[in-house]
Amino acid sequence: MTARPDRIVFRRTRLLVSIVSLVGLSAVLTGGDALAKEGTISGAGATFPYPLYSKWADTYAKDTQVKLNYQAIGSGGGIKQITEGTVDFGASDAPLKPEELDKADLMQFPVVMGAVVPVINLVGIKAGELKMTPDVLAEILMGKLKKWNDPKIVEMNKSLKLPDVAITVVHRSDGSGTTWIFTNYLSKVSPDWQKSVGADKSVAWPVGVGGKGNQGVASYVQRINGSIGYVESAYAVQNKMAHVKLKNQAGTFADPTEEGVQAAAKGADWSKARGFYMVLTDQPGAAAWPISGATFVLLQRKQKDPEVARAVLKFFDWGYRKGDAAAKELGFVPMPSSVVELVEKSWEKDLKDAATGAKVWPAENQASK
């Protein structure tokens, strides 16, 4: 037949396929090997903290020879894998409810925080210039306000010249912890939103277009004039997008800065939150950014292999103590030290050796590190 050039390429492809499968096979083999060794801890889950965990792991491996194998497969997958015990820890952007933790016999703790930021694309409007109340934000996202020069938006932005441009809402198309935090906030501040839409990792959006991932939303917002979307703060900074100032519980128009998120974390009473089930949206505090959230790590309460569990805890202990600079560099906000103390107390209390019932934490050789 006529497909001679095809055939050559086909042969090449076949070669490529066999190379790839060989590499894959060896990766599986060595992967299995490495898991058997003590020097590797494995985790799976949320994509949001992935850049941080891999950066921490890189430095940590140089210090301690302990490697981290983290698969960013999404919070849902992380929860499934830790429940089944196929990984040493799971990671989720949305905290599990205390009942869910009890049911799966898991414990969780927050690692770092971040902000979710409404971003806009309106000609002539710069970052932090547009102010919004929670009501107006909710009404825009429900499609009730259709134009940017709607009196309700103009009312608190008299100094700005808002154009007669249609509002296009951009949301996440994939299930996401970011959406969970954002819709959790909207449900808290708007009874209407709670009734008609609700809060979850993906919801039935009344209007708008969906972009895949933070990057997808960011690029849609940059493409469409008159759009409003929401992304993790790191993406807003990276893409130089115009964020919206939001009125918080204290009545000030706050910015999504590191201070804003920490103010929200300080306002929250973690000691009363069973299983660290704490959502940092709509918190009190003068500077508090109202759409803040933490990302969580999940562990099995009864540890079959306490040595591995200790290795995991040591890694996060190291992260709390020495990882702040790396976290800030990537746009994350470190946990306040008071919360870290509570977390490490809970390690002591909640984690048990499955066989003996002995404590897993503190690690005996902690001082030697």
Binding site: M1, R7, T13, A204, G208, Y220, R223, I224
Partner: protein
């Protein structure tokens, strides 16, 4: 490129089944498998081993199709039991209240694929004609290679190109033009309403068209080239124009292969995931306007599978996959039926 190779092979299979003239070697009478003259013991053992091995491979295909169907049906069962036939008829897709329906993604899948075919088939037909009938000899090779190259580009590249290059141009120039000129027309005008965002069903359909054109063009070129020179030249000798030769000689001779190529393109359009996810806007909604965002089955799966936590949610996604499986099967069956009717009509005529 392996894909276009496969495309050509599949088209060849369709062609072989369809038309007498292409099978040049008549099977020797009575040459069933067992009647092959026996050689030495060694080679007959080798023959038998080879035969067994190939049969195993063939069985593997059937086994994987049946296995896949089994997995999809068992996975989709909780959703199908909960929603029943309402699953197909409902456009509601709400993970918060656990209400799921397949209508919006099904609609999006069909509409984008139809757009892709409407645009893609004439263009690929033209490309194949240029290569086989019209282009000078020195130009045939470059065009052919270019088409094969296009077929080899991974779909995500098309998606990124669509979002970052095509969508801005489309929204700035083409969409306003369409709204202005086609908008006022009755009925059709409704298809071109709405804000020009550059993202939506029409964009997805056009990107799909660009993606399937190389496949269909490559197959059509290959089948057009199977037309015996004698046939073509006799027609020219009788004074037929190029148009008449194409319409009355080439097309009737290669009809089955052409339909096979179109079906391959349609199959790819129905299942395409990443490129569509980039440009369709991913909204679970049914809009008459092609400018509005929509969703397809495969892009819904790609978007939502990772974070689908509740069992009913996961099951509904698998049910969507089952719907796509059945849809593809129906398309294949329709293609087969069409071919059979064509053949039957041919039989009446002669």
């Amino acid at each position: 490129m392996a894909a276009s190779q496969q495309a050509a092979q599949e088209a060849a299979i369709l062609r072989d089944e369809g038309e007498g003239p292409t099978s040049t070697v008549p099977p020797p009478p009575g040459s069933e498998g067992g009647a092959v003259p026996k050689g030495t013991g060694d080679s007959s053992l080798g023959d038998r081993a080879f035969r067994g091995l190939t049969q195993l491979f063939a069985a593997l295909v059937l086994a994987s199709v049946i296995g896949m169907l089994f997995v999809l049906v068992t996975g989709a069962w909780p959703a199908l039991r909960t929603f029943g036939f309402k699953f197909l008829g409902s456009k509601e897709w709400n993970p918060v209240t656990n209400q799921f329906g397949a209508l919006a993604p099904l609609y999006g899948t069909v509409v984008t694929s139809v757009i892709a075919l409407l645009v893609g088939v004439p263009v690929s037909f033209g490309i194949a004609l240029v290569i086989t009938e019209l282009a000078p000899r020195w130009l045939k090779r470059p065009i052919g290679v270019a088409i094969e190259l296009l077929a080899a580009i991974p779909s995500i590249i098309y998606g990124m190109w669509g979002l970052f290059v095509f969508a801005p141009v489309f929204s700035a120039h083409l969409q306003p033009w369409l709204t202005e000129h086609l908008g006022p027309l009755p009925l059709i005008g409704r298809l071109f309403e709405g804000p020009p965002m550059g993202i939506g069903m029409l964009t997805a359909g056009l990107i799909l068209a660009i993606m399937i054109i190389p496949f269909m063009a490559a197959v059509m070129r290959d089948v057009f080239e199977t037309v015996p020179a004698a046939l073509r030249e006799s027609a020219y000798a009788l004074g037929a124009t190029t148009w008449e030769v194409v319409w009355k000689v080439v097309l009737p001779y290669t009809r089955v292969g052409v339909i096979g190529g179109v079906m391959l393109g349609l199959g790819r359009a129905l299942g395409e995931t990443m490129a569509v996810t980039f440009v369709i806007g991913n909204a679970h909604d049914i809009n008459l306007s092609l400018f509005m965002p929509g969703n397809t089955i495969s892009s819904t799966l790609a978007n939502e599978f990772t974070e689908a936590v509740t069992p009913l949610y996961t099951s509904s996604l698998l049910a969507l996959a089952l719907v796509l499986f059945v849809l593809t099967l129906v398309v294949l069956i329709i293609a087969r039926l069409m071919l059979m009717r064509l053949r039957a009509r041919e039989g009446e005529r002669t």
